[in-house]
C-alpha cells in the first residue's frame, strides 16, 4: 500500500491497487460522522473516438454520450432507480461528468454500508433498455437548454471554439439535442464496457474508517465484468495555434461579459509548479491588490474581481480570465499592456511573497471538508498529480521560474477573446 501525507494540512491518504485493477484511496478522518465516497472513471466528453484493441474497430461516439451514460447508470434491472434508493436511505447522492472524467458520489451520516451496497452495485451494473434510454432524452434536452440560458457557459464554449480546432474540448459536455438523438442502448453498453473498467477507475473514501476494514468492505462488493474491452483512445493532434481571435454572442443580459484565454502547450512533468506559477501571475497581474485591478476599478471599467483559472489535462491547457465590463476591448488592451510592462520589469519581490502566502492559505482552505479533500484527490489523480504537492511547492516557488512561465505562456498570438453582449 502506498501512502501520501501532508504535514501542512495534517492529512494522510492510503492508496491501494486491488487485484482487479481498481485503485482505492482511503482518507481517514477521526471523529467525523459524515462519510463521503466518490467513484471516478477516466472517461469524459473528450473521449469520443477510440479503438477497441481486440477487434481493431475504430469507434466514434455521439457528443454528450459520457454525460448520457452518467444519467442512465442509476437505472437498475429491478425497475428501481438507484438515486431514489440512495435518497430513501437518507444519503445525499449525485454524479457529474467533465471533459476528462465521470464521477458518482454520495455523502452519508447514517446507513453508510447499506448505501455502499447500493452505490457499488449500480456503478457496476449497467441496465439500459430502449425505453429507459428514450425517457432520458427529454430530461437531458432540458438540461442542455438550461445551460443555453447561462451566459457564462456560452462565453466559455465560444472561448474553447476560438482556441481549439480539433480537440473535443470544443464540444459541449452534454452534447446537443441533435447529437443526443443518436444515442441508443448499444452505444451506451459499448462505452461502458470500454471505459468503466476497474483499471480505469479510482474509488475514494473519506470518513472515520479503519483502512484495512474499509478495503475489505470494498472488495466484498466488487463484481466481475466479463464484457470489458481494452481500448486505445484516439485524440486528434491539436495545432499549437489558435483558430480565431474573437467570438461574440448576444443574449438578454445587462452588461457585456468577456473571457480572455491563452492557449498553452500541453506538458507533462512540472504541472503542479506550473499551475502555481500561473496562479501567482494572475494574482500579481489582475488580482485585487494589483495596480491594474485598482486602476480599472477606479475608472469604472470593472466592478468585481476577475475570475481566473488554469485548466489543463493530458490533451489541453489554457488560462482563462473572466469579468464583466462595458468596454471589454479596453480592458483586454490594458491587460496586454500590463503584461508587456511586467515582461520588462519582472515582478516585485514583496508582492510575490505576499501572494504565495495567500495561495498557501487558499490551498489549506480547500481541505476543509471531506468532500473537497476527496474531490481534489480524484481530479488530480486523473492528471497524475499528488494533490499535497501544491502545499509544499507553493512555499518554495521561486520568482525566476514564475517569470519564465510568464514569458512563455502569456503570449499575444495565442490569446483569444470571447464576449457575450446584451441584446439591443
Amino acid at each position: 500500500m502506498q501512502t501520501i501525507e501532508s504535514s501542512k494540512v495534517k492529512e494522510k491518504i492510503y492508496i491501494e491497487k486491488l487485484e482487479n485493477g481498481l485503485t482505492v484511496a482511503v482518507i481517514p478522518k477521526k471523529e467525523i460522522c459524515k462519510k463521503y465516497v466518490i467513484w471516478g472513471t477516466e472517461f469524459g466528453s473528450i473521449d469520443n473516438n477510440f479503438k477497441l484493441t481486440k477487434t481493431d474497430q475504430i469507434v466514434k461516439v455521439p457528443d454528450g454520450i459520457a454525460h448520457y451514460l452518467e444519467h442512465k447508470l442509476f437505472e437498475q434491472e429491478n425497475g428501481k432507480n438507484s438515486l431514489d434508493v440512495l435518497s430513501s436511505l437518507g444519503v445525499d447522492a449525485n454524479a457529474y461528468t467533465t471533459n476528462n472524467h465521470t464521477a458518482y458520489l454520495f455523502e452519508a451520516t447514517d446507513n453508510f454500508y447499506e448505501a455502499l451496497d447500493e452505490f457499488m452495485d449500480y456503478v457496476q451494473s449497467p441496465y439500459f433498455t430502449d425505453e429507459n434510454v428514450e425517457k432520458e432524452r427529454g430530461i437531458i434536452g432540458q438540461e442542455i437548454m438550461m445551460y443555453d440560458d447561462y451566459p457564462d457557459w456560452k462565453l466559455y464554449m465560444n472561448a474553447m471554439k476560438c482556441m481549439y480546432k480539433d480537440n473535443p474540448i470544443n464540444i459541449d459536455v452534454a452534447g446537443t439535442k441533435e447529437t443526443i438523438a443518436q444515442i441508443d442502448k448499444e452505444k451506451l453498453y459499448t462505452i461502458y464496457n470500454a471505459f468503466y473498467r476497474p483499471d480505469n477507475q479510482v474509488l475514494v473514501l473519506c470518513g472515520d474508517f479503519e483502512v484495512d476494514n474499509i478495503l475489505e468492505e470494498v472488495k466484498k462488493r466488487l463484481k466481475p465484468n466479463h464484457n470489458k474491452q481494452e481500448v486505445q483512445r484516439i485524440y486528434p493532434k491539436e495545432q499549437e495555434e489558435i483558430v480565431e481571435k474573437y467570438k461574440e454572442a448576444k443574449m438578454d443580459i445587462s452588461k457585456p461579459l468577456f473571457l480572455i484565454a491563452y492557449k498553452d502547450k500541453v506538458e507533462t512533468g512540472e504541472m503542479v509548479k506550473k499551475d502555481l506559477a500561473i496562479e501567482c501571475i494572475c494574482n500579481m497581474l489582475i488580482g485585487k491588490s494589483s495596480n491594474l485591478y485598482q486602476k480599472l476599478y477606479k475608472e469604472g471599467l470593472i466592478s468585481e474581481e476577475f475570475g481566473y483559472n488554469y485548466e489543463f489535462s493530458k490533451t489541453y491547457a489554457h488560462i482563462l480570465i473572466q469579468n464583466t465590463s462595458n468596454n471589454p476591448q479596453k480592458v483586454a488592451e490594458e491587460i496586454s499592456k500590463e503584461i508587456e510592462n511586467y515582461n520588462q520589469t519582472g515582478f516585485n519581490n514583496e508582492e510575490f511573497e505576499r501572494i504565495k502566502k495567500k495561495i498557501y492559505g487558499e490551498y489549506v482552505k480547500s481541505y476543509n471538508d471531506i468532500s473537497s479533500i476527496s474531490n481534489n484527490f480524484l481530479s488530480d489523480y486523473f492528471k497524475e498529480i499528488n494533490s499535497f504537492e501544491f502545499l509544499e511547492e507553493i512555499l518554495v516557488l521561486d520568482k525566476d521560474y514564475v517569470e519564465k512561465v510568464f514569458k512563455e505562456v502569456f503570449v499575444e498570438d495565442r490569446k483569444v477573446i470571447s464576449v457575450v453582449l446584451p441584446n439591443e
Binding site: 431514489d84 445525499d92 425517457k135 430530461i139 491588490s289
Partner: protein
C-alpha cells in the same frame, strides 16, 4: 455546536460556535433591519462603501493587502432578504492557527478585521468619500440591472414581486436604480449612522474557540465599545406574522424574454394562523418537491421527461411554498397539469407511508449534516435567531419524526394558488 449566545449590549448579540473539525475560522456580522421601499436602496449601497475603506485601512488596496497577508482570508459582503427584513451580511473566513507557521492569533485578527470593516467605516466630516461613492453607485446599479442575467432567479424574484408588490418581501433586496442618484455622500453617512444605531446586530464566530478568550476579544474591541445599546428595529420572522386570505383571482403572469427554456414559478399561500406549522410544512415540501424522491422530481422529470430541474421551496417567514421548474415553452400546460395533480394527490391523501418516511429521512439527514458544515451551521443559527426560535438540531429531528400523514393532509388543504408566473420566449 453553539456554545454560547449572549448580549454584549441590548440589541447586540454574539453567538459562539465551537468546532474543531475545520481548518478555518469564520466571523460573520449581520445587520438586520425592516425591508422598506424608502430605505432598501441606500441600505443595499452601504456594504459597497464599507468594504472600500475604514479609518485604519483607508483604501480597498490596503484592505486587500491585509487579507492577503492573513493567508488569503476570504472576505465578502452582501445583502440577504429574510422575510420582511433586509440583512446586510459581512463574512470572513481565515485558516486557523494550527495551519500557520507561527502563532498569528488568526481568530483575533479575523474578528477584529470584520468589526473594523462594519463599525469603523471611513466617514470624514460627516460624509463618505465622494469619488468612492460615485464608483460604488455605478456598481450597485450594475448589480440591480444584472438581476436579468440569471433567468431562474429573475423569474423567481418577479413571481414574488407579483405577489407582494413593492413592499417588504416583495422588494428586490438590492433596491431600485431610480433611487441611486438621490443618494449623496452626506445622506448615505446619515443612513449608516441611523442603521448602526437601530438595527439588530448579530456577530457569529465559528471555529476552534477552545483556549481563546473570544468573549474578551469582543468586549474589549474598541469598535464594539462605541456601539450604543438599542431596542433593535427588525421584524421578527415566524409563522404567526403572516395571516392570509384566499386570493380572489389567481394571478397568471407571462413575461417574454430571449430564453431557450421557459421558467415556470408557482407561488402558493399557506392559509393558516397556526403558529407551529413550520415543521409539517417542511415535511410536506419534501414530499412535494424537495429531493429526488419527491413527487415533482418523480412525475415532472422522471415520468414525463418534461424538466431537468423541478423543485419546491418552503419560505417559512412568509408562509409560502414556491414551485419552480425549467421546461420547454410548448409544454407549459402539460407541466402545469402534472404539478396540479401532485398538489391534489397530497390533498386527497394519495401518497404512501414510504413517501413520508423518505421525506423525513431526507430532512433528518440534512439536519444531521449541519454540524459538520461550517456555513450551514451559521445559517441554521441565524434562522433561529431571526425567528426567535430556540430549538436545537436534536429537537428539530424529534418533531419531524412525529409528523403524521393526517397532519400533512391537513396542511395540504391549507394551500391555495396565488400566482402562476411563466418566463417564456413567445
Amino acid at each position: 455546536m453553539l456554545v454560547d449566545s449572549f448580549e454584549i449590549k441590548s440589541g447586540i448579540k454574539a453567538h459562539l460556535i465551537q468546532n474543531d473539525i475545520f481548518k478555518t475560522n469564520i466571523a460573520c456580522v449581520l445587520l438586520t433591519t425592516p425591508l422598506k421601499r424608502e430605505t432598501v436602496t441606500q441600505n443595499a449601497l452601504l456594504p459597497f462603501l464599507l468594504r472600500s475603506g475604514t479609518k485604519n485601512l483607508k483604501t480597498q488596496l490596503e484592505i486587500n493587502k491585509k487579507l492577503e497577508e492573513m493567508y488569503g482570508a476570504s472576505f465578502d459582503c452582501g445583502i440577504d432578504k429574510m422575510g420582511d427584513n433586509q440583512v446586510l451580511k459581512f463574512y470572513i473566513e481565515s485558516i486557523n492557527d494550527n495551519f500557520v507557521g507561527e502563532k498569528d492569533e488568526m481568530l483575533k485578527q479575523t474578528t477584529n478585521f470584520i468589526l473594523e470593516i462594519v463599525f469603523n467605516t471611513l466617514i470624514e466630516n460627516g460624509q463618505f468619500n465622494e469619488d468612492i461613492l460615485n464608483i460604488e453607485k455605478q456598481n450597485l446599479r450594475q448589480v440591480i440591472e444584472s438581476k436579468i442575467d440569471d433567468k431562474d432567479i429573475y423569474a423567481f424574484e418577479n413571481c414574488i414581486n407579483s405577489m407582494y408588490g413593492d413592499k417588504g418581501f416583495g422588494l428586490y433586496k438590492y433596491g431600485f436604480t431610480e433611487d441611486i442618484s438621490k443618494i449623496s455622500a452626506k445622506s448615505l453617512a446619515d443612513s449608516y449612522i441611523e442603521l448602526i444605531n437601530n438595527c439588530k446586530i448579530d456577530i457569529f464566530i465559528s471555529g476552534d474557540l477552545k483556549n481563546i478568550d473570544i468573549k474578551g476579544i469582543l468586549e474589549n474591541n474598541e469598535n464594539i465599545k462605541k456601539l450604543i445599546a438599542r431596542k433593535p428595529n427588525y421584524i421578527l420572522n415566524n409563522e404567526s406574522t403572516e395571516s392570509k386570505q384566499k386570493v380572489e383571482n389567481i394571478q397568471e403572469k407571462r413575461e417574454i424574454l430571449d430564453v431557450a427554456q421557459g421558467k415556470l414559478v408557482i407561488g402558493l399561500d399557506i392559509l393558516s394562523k397556526q403558529k407551529d406549522i413550520g415543521i409539517v410544512a417542511l415535511v410536506y415540501n419534501a414530499i412535494l418537491g424537495d429531493g429526488v424522491n419527491s413527487m415533482l422530481f418523480q412525475n415532472v422529470r422522471e415520468k414525463a421527461s418534461l424538466a431537468y430541474s423541478t423543485k419546491s421551496k418552503y419560505v417559512k417567514q412568509k408562509a409560502n411554498i414556491f414551485i419552480r421548474c425549467g421546461i420547454e415553452v410548448d409544454n407549459y400546460q402539460k407541466a402545469l397539469d402534472i404539478i396540479k395533480e401532485q398538489l391534489d394527490n397530497i390533498k386527497n391523501g394519495n401518497f404512501t407511508e414510504e413517501d413520508i418516511s423518505n421525506a423525513k429521512c431526507y430532512l433528518i439527514s440534512g439536519i444531521k449534516a449541519i454540524e459538520e458544515e461550517q456555513d450551514s451551521e451559521i445559517v441554521f443559527y441565524i434562522g433561529n435567531e431571526i425567528s426567535n426560535i430556540n430549538m436545537t438540531l436534536k429537537q428539530y429531528i424529534d418533531v419531524i419524526q412525529n409528523i403524521t400523514k393526517e397532519e400533512i393532509i391537513e396542511f395540504a388543504n391549507l394551500l391555495e394558488y396565488n400566482t402562476i408566473y411563466f418566463l417564456s420566449n413567445k
